[in-house]
Symmetry: none
Subunit: 196 residues, 4 copies
């Protein structure tokens, strides 16, 4: 009977769950294994989480909030739209790299598990700040004229794809700088001759 502080135990469970869920997916993930990795008994998990679903949701929501805060924190500071976009992409990419398991889990289970609508909503919400940046850039003359909404969707989708690819395949490494450049050269009004 290992006595640990409740918070300690909860953290261990969350980490173990993140591991197992992201490796096996929600359905195949197995409470017994999570318990084992967390170094706790099966019953112990149910001291902190009502059930498998609640454990999963808690996981997702925590990371989601985290990511959201990260993005929000860097969004206000920048001056130019170019800088804003760079910050946006960097924040996302860095977060994704640091929390591979969450990203995998999130993408893997998106549209399959509970709260589908909530998830869809979450994704749509992500596009809005991006759209604002693009509009700002167009107004300031930094970006070429385009349908901000469409381009935001494409960029967001691409970002998702890049993150997914990096999470899935260790061979794929895409730095924020390269990605930003690739996207920007297409957006800058003067086509980027000045660059490179």
């Amino acid at each position: 009977m290992n006595k640990r502080s409740g918070i300690e135990s909860k953290k261990r469970i969350i980490n173990a769950a993140l591991d197992v869920f992201s490796m096996q997916g929600y359905a195949k993930a197995n409470m017994r294994e999570i318990a084992k990795i967390a170094g706790i008994s099966i019953g112990g998990i149910y001291l902190y989480f009502k059930n498998k679903e609640e454990l999963y949701k808690s996981l997702i929501n925590d990371r989601r909030r985290d990511l959201f805060n990260n993005v929000a924190a860097t969004s206000g500071k920048s001056i130019s739209a170019t800088e804003s976009l760079s910050n946006f992409l960097t924040t996302y990419l860095e977060y994704a790299l640091k929390h591979k398991e969450f990203i995998l889990l999130h993408i893997r289970e998106h549209g399959f598990s509970f709260d589908i609508d909530k998830k869809r909503e979450f994704f749509r919400q992500q596009i809005k700040p991006l759209e604002k940046i693009i509009i700002k850039g167009i107004h300031s003359g930094e970006f070429r004229k385009c349908n901000a909404k469409d381009i935001a969707k494409i960029i967001m989708a691409s970002l998702r794809g890049v993150i997914l690819s990096m999470a899935l395949d260790d061979d794929v490494v895409i730095t924020p700088k390269i990605l930003t450049e690739f996207i920007l050269i297409g957006l800058l009004k003067n086509g980027g001759e000045g660059k490179k």
Copy 2:
């Protein structure tokens, strides 16, 4: 009791399986439901497929071959690199739209189910033709100088993200034309002033 040709039955099973697997994911998918949708008995499935895993693998491989052939078919014909790239993206996007379920399944289970290495290999294979196109474009003077491998990875990842977003969210519609344009403007040597 329904006498059908074996091929007929097999087709029905495959379609049903694609439905169910893509909706629920491999782990949660249920042989009983597949059988019901296929209009066949449970035992019937095992006449054509050794087990659940085999059914799943058969599904994936068939579509994979199919997609590969599609891409290959359109790759040789085009003359300019720009055209080649456009064809490549269009083929992928159109295939993805026609086979949403497969795409969802493929992405969802990639890295989680069996044959992980095979899948990874499949993805890497996809990048090669793209890389060739880019190199061709650089040589022909159509594309700006860049690291073809890196850019190929980014484009492939973006394409994956676009497909995923469209498959997951009905609200996201990205046409091959718009996507190609977005990517091209960043690749064209002269930065796309001539365009638009």
Copy 3:
């Protein structure tokens, strides 16, 4: 893999369940044991009953319907109220003796399990025919004047107690004849001097 007709299996399950439920009560009863006694696998039970609760309810409802039909069948035929009462008591007692397990289960779980209101209603329904018999007897001059409702309640309660005692304790044997006599002597207008 023992192949039996579905009906055969279902019967075996019902009998086993009746045994186990009545011996252990609903909460302590154990699906594995039921399966074992029924000579079937655990999963087999779930082919015929959705879950433990459904199995239990099905059991109860079937017997209830059965008892109800028995009582109804003998109620219409008799001429005198005395005879009616005798028939009523006899039917109940005989049924109870034949289905001890059900009675035990019914009493044991009454007020504790699901459908509490349904059960209460069932018990109240049972009193009505009894009340009618008493009223008939008072009108015909067979029975002394009394509050038919109260007396019906007492008789029904006593009947329940007798059945319970017999079901619980093999040492207690009360024949319909003796019980009827005991009750009747109190009901007959002339106090039963004529009798015995």
Copy 4:
């Protein structure tokens, strides 16, 4: 944290246990809930009772002794057999009304839980004083000639049924007076014409 005398705590546990056991039955009753209602920690219960079974047995035995004492206290005082019977029934009924939960629990678990033989014995013991009363009544000429043992069994069973019905169904109210009258009129030699 709450400092209470041990006796105080024990009492609170017993009351809580009586509540929970009688509402849910032994098997479904839950130590956590008992602890909560008793306003004590789970571990606290185990300071006073070895385990669930011991707590239950302690409960039952205490009430049993209590009831037994009550009956004994009123049995010796009366002169006529009629009065004795009336006292017997009244004592039982009143005790039952005051301790509904115990009665429910006792009946519900009789024959299912531990010490089955002890319980059976307890019930048989109850019949003896009743039998004595009847024999006394026959000798004194108050009661008609009958098989005292059989009649005692019937009366005891009826009493049990009446108590059960009242405990289970709030709609059923049977006063000691009415019950006694109903039973007596059948027992009195002269059929009870003098009465009422």
